[in-house]
Amino acid sequence: MRNTQAIQPLFELSRPGRRAAVLPKCDVPTRPLDELIPSGSLAASPPALPELSEPDVVRHFTNLSTLNMSVDTHFYPLGSCTMKYNPKRNERLVSLPGMADLHPYQPEATLQGMLELLWTLQEMLAEIGGLHAVSLQPAAGAHGELTCLLMARAYFRHLAQPRTKVLAPDSAHGTNPASAAVAGFEYVTIKSTPRGFVDLDDLRAKLDDRVAVFMITNPNTLGMFDREIREIAGLVHEAGGLVYLDGANMNAILGISRPGDFGADMMHYNPHKTFSGPHGGGGPGAGPIAVRANIAPYLPAPLVAKDGNRYRLDYDRPKSIGRVRSFFGNTGVLVRAYCYLRTYGPKGIREVSENAVLNANYLLSRVKHILPVPQGDRCMHEFVATASKIKAEKGVSAMDLAKRLLDYGYHAPTVYFPLTVKESMMIEPTETESKETLDAFAKTLFQITEEPAELLHEAPHTTPISRPDEVRAARQPQTSWPE
């Protein structure tokens, strides 16, 4: 039933002379091009783009879309990514001309509604994080990490303290070490205990006056809340360092516990996770950051300020690290986050985390009999099961299980992360899934573990393609269509 012709690459579909877009005639007196542009700067020919009609284009991309799994179509328990439902009302509202059709350099008087919204969002994010000041500029979580680490550098430079190290647990997301490196820090890994908590002895051992920042994800990537977080923060602070909270897992603790209250000095949010911004096939996200008063002066400019009932962009921030992104930020994602928070309100936002944690624990209770869950019987918003037993017994890997799940209409959990658990499957159901979906998923997972290994090694069997040759892709990279 699939239309295989329409999904040929654009370049195969192209026919000389075909056109979709037609431009209006030029209504001003025109001049010869070479009068306007030095001949050397004029391209000999138009760019070598494919030539298609509008029906071709629509059919091509519409059919391509159906090759994706997505939250709108499938259960998508991709651990650490919080693939929750993306409200349609938010999409409608963000595309109002009064939101989408605004130029970033319009006079502030013509942007009062937008600035009011963004100012309120700053306030809400400060409150949720238990911190004091917020910048909405970073474009994604990793960008927020980097921004905060740059602020830490400026902060310590200001204190004339030569602190060169960033510490984080081995279970940290790859962006943590990468951000540390980009910010010019030396990155040091801290061991975790078997249950995924920070190994305090190792932390103590590695804390010294060269440590600028300790980055922690709490709840961590095993979905466990580190009970010793206060103590950890205490140690870091004693050593003169700052605590950074990777907020990717905030979906577990909204209205329940606040990073600022458990010792974080800086944090980022992932509104595309926690606050239902759609993931867009890879992005965009946003990475708003919240910090303590002592770090606030270093925030990137501009922030939104309120004077009486006027709102303005505040660029006058002498200690600011400067900019990390052009214009204001990923506003569209921020508007969605605002809509989301206004939909839930104080009581509702707590119910989000309650149900996210309830769903995760329920699914854990269904899954643990099928695949061991090393961390134990409890989790926050997600948990990590391991396929190492079934791997040992019948050679079926986490990847095999993941691929087979696709056949049954489930997106795979995150596999092989965190690296601290062998054959890991990181499962995050989110609060927007129903009990029936979780039951059916667990049932299917069990069924799969009963299936013959050969079948699983070759899975998936019902998807458009199966087990692409990644080695070949990397050996002779073909990253574009040959001209």
Partner: protein, 445 residues
Amino acid sequence: MPYLPNTSADQQAMLDAIGVTSIDELFEMVPADLRLNRPLALPPALTEFELTDHVGRLAAKNTSAGQRVCFLGGGSYDHFIPAAVDAIASRGEYYTSYTPYQAEASQGNLQVFFEYQTLITRLTGMDVSNASLYDGGSAAAEAVFMCLGATGRRGRVVTAASVHPEYRQILQTHLGNLGIELVTVPTPQGNLAPEDLVSAVNDQTACVLVQQPNFFGCLEEADSLARIAHQAGARFVVSVDPISLGLLTRPGDYGADIVVAEGQSLGNPMAFGGPYLGIIACREELVRRMPGRITGQTTDRHGRRCWVLTLQTREQHIRREKATSNICTNQGLYALRATIYLALMGPQGMREVAELCLQKSRYAQDKLASGGRLSRAFDRPTFKEFVVRDQEDRVEELLEEAGRHGFFAGIPLGRWYPELADSFLVTVTEKRTKQEIDALAASLV
């Protein structure tokens, strides 16, 4: 709650299955003294109708670009967005999916990214494009990081005052932090004079970054600048306006090593500055230093052509602190939009939209300069933007007055260029009509 399927009956059944008596019990992991013992101080919940009304009112407090005639640019442009772009990009399979880690469940996105990468290489004349970065500004920074690594030079990075001021601020944030000097060559004539560049580069210069057409709308002598950079052993990085490439020489043809661009103008709304699309493309030899995701073609178990994320050993989730960049989430949906836009435009469409911008903006220059009060600040060839000087040095008033006549007439340059406090930047896209331009000229006197 509209997005929470669990009924209290469901909750009870689930608690029983877990073997606890209350949801609170599940949170025991969180020490009592770390729990918030009050509701968050957030505004009250709104139903969909109330939210729609509320956000509608906020939107109404803004004046949208469409409510006035928009001559603003400076890196964000009022180009026409075909309806098909919105229609396709609003399909849930695109915007509610995530990074194509599971290739078998993501061939739609992967093929789109492969097509996007191809379109970008065709547009820029480069060998390799990634699958997107955040925006044009951070893309410029990533390009500079690539050059630092590739050349091993940590002495200086040279750029020009004619590069977007905010992009230069981003560079300064990073280079300042790393203790690398950012040399900004002044451009009093409106473009980077080759001889000035010669004296700015040295044997510790990692790269030269210029913008084409530059922030003032003027064309740089790109090929000479490239030669100078390369003679100094530095890499040559160009930030371009993708729309201009319908007409202008492709950076690959004048020696660019890395091309970056703000992709907003390719079918993406101005949206008060974001989300936008960071475009980056480079020469083959730099591919392993490329930040972000790259899609590659391969075959599957049955020999079928397909696409996967490739060269991932550059990336943070594999290489961690050794990664080429820390980027994870990118701007996939906007890469999709750009892909649809370019597929609709085709070579002719891109050529024509560029020519319309060029002709109309030239017409506007002459028209504005004909009044007496205003004059062109720079006597250089321009593409779709240009700088206008106000004899009477009352830019703010002038623009406010134009606003009252229904125009977003231009961007005052004083905030970035004290020496241009008497000037503003005017942008004319294909959407502007002769009538609108004439009316603008009439209002600016």
